[in-house]
Symmetry: none
Subunit: 252 residues, 2 copies
């Protein structure tokens, strides 16, 4: 397997974009912590941690990518896969940590009663972890059979999780101001739009054909995962911060 | 393509100057945050983040430059382009993040009403992102046709952005003290002078001839972009900080 120099640059630049976005969003959130009321600070710190964990993994993915696809003999030459595997596992390790934490930060910023938060988290966190664990064996193979089976198994907790977020959570929002509810509704749609990218990117090799099972699919999958990560973590973190600011102001 | 040892040193030292200026301006701004009233702190933090993101990219550009133009056999020998491409993409990834943020910090330091800020940002931020995205494909090619077309397309949002900054923003400044208005006017001129460098540096290869399409043009372009980055981010960040100080003092 090999990448043209244009394909290589695309992945390279997208990975670097992810590092910069995630690292500096983490820093921004840490520095802005005191702009929100104390009860929302945990949500902001968790958002910063999520971006920090992701930035760490992107540094690893970046270095791994450079090793796996070294420069050819000339600038225009293809980058041929070396003896070092491109390790898709980094992403799953990252998600295993960050996806549950994203749900923790989402519930934390709502500042619900202790019991209501607890009720949401015991549903959301195990479902998120299960979703990632079940997707992993499917990602490692390019064979259709197992990829479909693990993909479907992983989709079950995914759907459950969306159900809890869109139905279960709505009841918990009564009593919030219209502005806060509008922001929460935005947050959920951004979550749905970005999280929805992952199963689609996962399915590329299943579409088959030279493009989707080859270098084209690889580039599209890496780009898709990276941009979805930026939206689901960095942009999402900024929106969580804004929601916390709005609520802090209202309570002043 | 190859650089004489003098040309190599020039780019090398300018890149290092950019790292030092941007990294330590970021640090300075972070450390000075508490010298301004709380309502201006977000502008200062965003300025620091902008300089930090740029410093990160300059570290990458620097390492990439060393790999692309390795030392020759002797000290005086030319640095011949290796098999590793010099990746102009870092700059575009950087601008894609920092140019919208520069506009965010500019609007933030004005401390306008929420509605007025919103009105400016929904115009400025998408125009800035569009300008960078449209310039990128043109930068990748040295062919005249596409370079001109993408350059012109990218100039449209650039002009719109300047229009909003110089016309739209003026109305928003009524009620500010003469000193503050003078500082804001300075800020805008510095912005215009530094941002104006980018399209000029972009156009060098179009001038053609041995100098501008060859090593001379490369050195001039790298130097131009780097110095413009220092002015547009580090110096600009310091001016934003001074403006925030002036306003904090007036409100005391
Ligand atoms: C449904 C499904 C998946 C879902 C993954 C998701 C939803 C990942 C979300 C990741 C996030 C939000 C990362 C950090 O920002 C997998 C595992 C690809 C396997 C195929 C089926
Ligand atoms: C108009 C125009 C351009 C403008 C670029 C600008 C205005 C970049 C500003 C960058 C800053 C301010 C960076 C950080 O400090 C391009 C993309 C070169 C393409 C050619 C046309």
């Amino acid at each position: 397997s090999s990448l043209s120099s244009g394909q290589y640059s695309t992945v390279y630049n997208v990975l670097s974009l992810a590092i910069a976005s995630l690292l500096f969003t983490a820093l921004y959130l840490l520095l802005s912590q005191r702009q929100v009321a104390p009860r929302y600070r945990n949500a902001i710190v968790v958002s910063a941690i999520v971006c920090g964990i992701a930035a760490y993994h992107y540094f690893r993915i970046f270095a791994n990518f450079q090793e796996s696809y070294p420069a050819g003999a000339t600038i225009d030459a293809a980058h041929v896969l070396s003896n070092v595997e491109f390790n898709e596992g980094y992403r799953y390790v990252d998600w295993f940590l960050t996806v549950p934490l994203l749900l923790v930060e989402t519930v934390a910023v709502l500042a619900l009663s202790r019991a209501a938060s607890q009720r949401l988290l015991v549903r959301l966190v195990p479902a998120a972890a299960l979703m990632i664990v079940l997707g992993y064996p499917g990602e490692l193979t390019l064979e259709t059979g197992p990829r479909v089976i693990w993909g479907v198994l992983s989709t079950l907790p995914f759907l459950y999780l969306l159900y809890v977020l869109f139905v279960g959570l709505t009841k918990a929002l009564e009593g919030k101001s219209p502005q806060v509810r509008a922001q929460i509704s935005n947050l959920r749609w951004i979550l749905l739009a970005s999280w929805g990218v992952y199963p689609i990117a996962y399915a590329f090799p299943l579409i088959g054909g030279d493009f989707f099972s080859g270098a084209g699919g690889f580039v599209l999958r890496q780009t898709g995962y990276s941009i979805a990560d930026i939206v689901a973590k960095a942009l999402f973190g900024i929106l969580i911060y804004r929601l916390a600011r709005t609520q802090s102001r209202e309570e002043d």
